[in-house]
Amino acid sequence: MATENGTRRGYLLLSPTLAVMALAMAAPLALLVLYSLTAAPGPVLAGGPSLAQYGEALARAGYRALFWRSIAISALVTAVTVTLAYPMAYFVAFHAGRAKFAWAIALTIPFWTSYLLRVFAWKIILGYGGVINSALLSLHLISTPLSALLYNPFAVVVTLTHAWAAFAILPIYVSLEKIDRALLEAATDLGDGPARRFLRITLPLSLPGVLGAAILIFVPTTGDYVTPSLVGGPQGAMIANLIAIQFERVGNWPLGAALALASMAMVAVTAALFVTAARAAVRAVK
């Protein structure tokens, strides 16, 4: 079937999809790059390519702080989400028995609600008259509602951890499910107790799922706009809020573009470093 004719038909079949992706993703990103190389607001590349906007984006302490905060918040969200999801996925993969399918459905249903409203729900929980304050008040643990729960990085982390849970559970579950049970028996047969076996077999073999989940959460959350806007307050603002401001209110598109691309580059580098480090750490376990 791998005739020249067949190959041509293959590329032909592929071409509409590639054309749409070129139009909807590649061309816009290319234009974003051009804008980021434009010296001042106005026509694109007026006055020739310039790195001035990147200089601006990286030079201002306020911007830099926002970059680091975004990456720190996302890293924390990723770590907490993956860590909390792992035992859950492990339970479903290894101990849910016949209820496995019911568990899988039960775990995904909360994610079929509107993302905006899921984020908003945390405002109800963490807010001044919210669930936590009401509970603490009625238990007489506090006398006035806590206002420190909402509008800070903590609220952003909690909300994102909840919002992205499914993206951690599913990849980890799939990678655990794929592990041949005979490998676990072989490890036991060769003298491993449950803890050693987990560290030497289960964890390394589920690593692709863990890394996939981590990347799938870390990358988009660094650019999340809704959550910091709704529950972050000024201290919980992230880079996406700054980028949006440049485009919407300030009208400085080149700076917005440079900020967006610089943050993507930082995220990519952080993610690559993390994946390399995690792989090396697990490979060291024999």
Partner: protein, 351 residues
């Protein structure tokens, strides 16, 4: 007490009895096979010995120590898994070294022991390969080395050759046998392949429906099966219905219908019987000749298999054909089947 002793061991899954009061004794240094069709309970028995399943009833001992309640990782056994279960994230060296890491060997000692074992199974130079870079035969050797390097008292092999092609399987049979003899470790093999069991093991236990039907040497199993099921499972065989007519000294006379009256040596009866009992007489195809006999027949199918040919012969008054294995070409036209009644094995009808 035997080296491995299984006493009255039972295991039920829901209503299915995977092991039903199984008794088994395996002497030290033996190559022992558990043979039976799939679902007969042999794998469950093996897993109970390895520690992956606990018996509902009964006791398992190895080298005098009771194994019930001992977790798999604390038992003096190691296993070659059915599809080898090679750890895909580790190379050959680390797979073989897997079970040694806890022993606190020095780097050098560990390496020496792993290398020596790789030499024993003829895998020198493949230390760095991963499981997906190995052939089926090589994977099998890694699984073997990984288990043997721990110097188990008992090596368990779960259908170890099932994943290999015919030629490799035959070569590995010889090699496994040689390895077992030179290491002196007790091997317990589980297989559904009778040829595998017969060619390698000193002793074979034939299992069916969670019970052991017969334990014997391969030759005895072939020549003196104790029931219809064993006879049927081990090689090709013909069964003839007969009734016990008389017993005189060491000779039993049986009426075998279309075959007439046959005189069978009494030792061919491995069970108690009475006059008038309905019995089965079993006869191997290679014990029958196509010429010079007394029963007329007609060849209905023939297949040439090299050094011998297999024939199906129809005889009057019998619905199913008689299987005959003979060397040399078949005579033209009608055949006259003949055999020595002393080659017939008497089996109880009901069992």
């Amino acid at each position: 007490m035997a080296f491995l002793s299984v006493q009255k061991v039972s295991k039920r899954f829901a209503t299915l009895a995977a092991a039903d009061a199984v008794d088994l004794e395996v002497p030290q240094g033996a190559f022992f096979a558990l043979l039976g069709p799939s679902g007969c309970g042999k794998t469950t028995l093996l897993r109970m010995i390895a520690g992956f399943a606990e018996p509902d009833e009964g006791i398992i001992t190895i080298d005098g120590a009771v194994m019930n309640g001992v977790p798999a990782n604390k038992r003096p056994t190691n296993m070659v898994f059915q599809n080898y279960a090679i750890f895909p994230h580790l190379n050959v060296f680390d797979n073989v070294a897997y079970g040694l890491r806890k022993e606190g060997l020095g780097r050098q000692a560990l390496r020496a022991r792993v290398e020596a074992m790789l030499g024993t199974v003829r895998l020198e130079g493949l230390d760095g390969r991963r499981s997906d870079e190995l052939s089926g035969g090589q994977r099998q050797r890694v699984a073997l080395a990984r288990a043997l390097v721990r110097r188990p008292k008992l090596l368990l092999l779960d259908e170890p050759l099932g994943a290999l092609d015919k030629r490799l399987r035959e070569a590995m049979q010889v090699e496994l046998r040689g390895l077992q003899k030179s290491l002196g470790i007790t091997f317990l093999l589980v297989t559904h392949d009778q040829e595998e069991a017969l060619s390698m093991a000193d002793q074979v236990a034939v299992m069916s429906g969670g019970r052991i039907l017969q334990i014997a040497s391969p030759r005895a199993l072939y020549e003196r099966p104790n029931c219809r099921e064993v006879a049927d499972f081990i090689g090709e065989i013909n069964f003839f219905h007969a009734t016990v007519k008389s017993v005189e000294g060491e000779t039993v006379t049986a009426n075998a219908g279309v075959l007439g009256l046959l005189s069978i040596p009494k030792p061919n009866f491995g069970f108690g019987f009475a006059l008038g009992d309905h019995i089965l007489l079993a006869l191997r195809p290679e014990r029958i000749t196509l010429e010079g006999g007394t029963v007329a027949g007609e060849i209905t199918a023939a297949s040439f298999l090299g050094e011998r040919s297999h024939y199906q012969v129809r005889i009057a008054g019998r619905g199913e054909p008689v299987f005959v294995a003979a060397s040399g070409p078949a005579p033209p036209g009608a055949v006259m089947l003949g055999w020595n009644p002393a080659d017939m094995i008497a089996l109880p009808f009901g069992a």
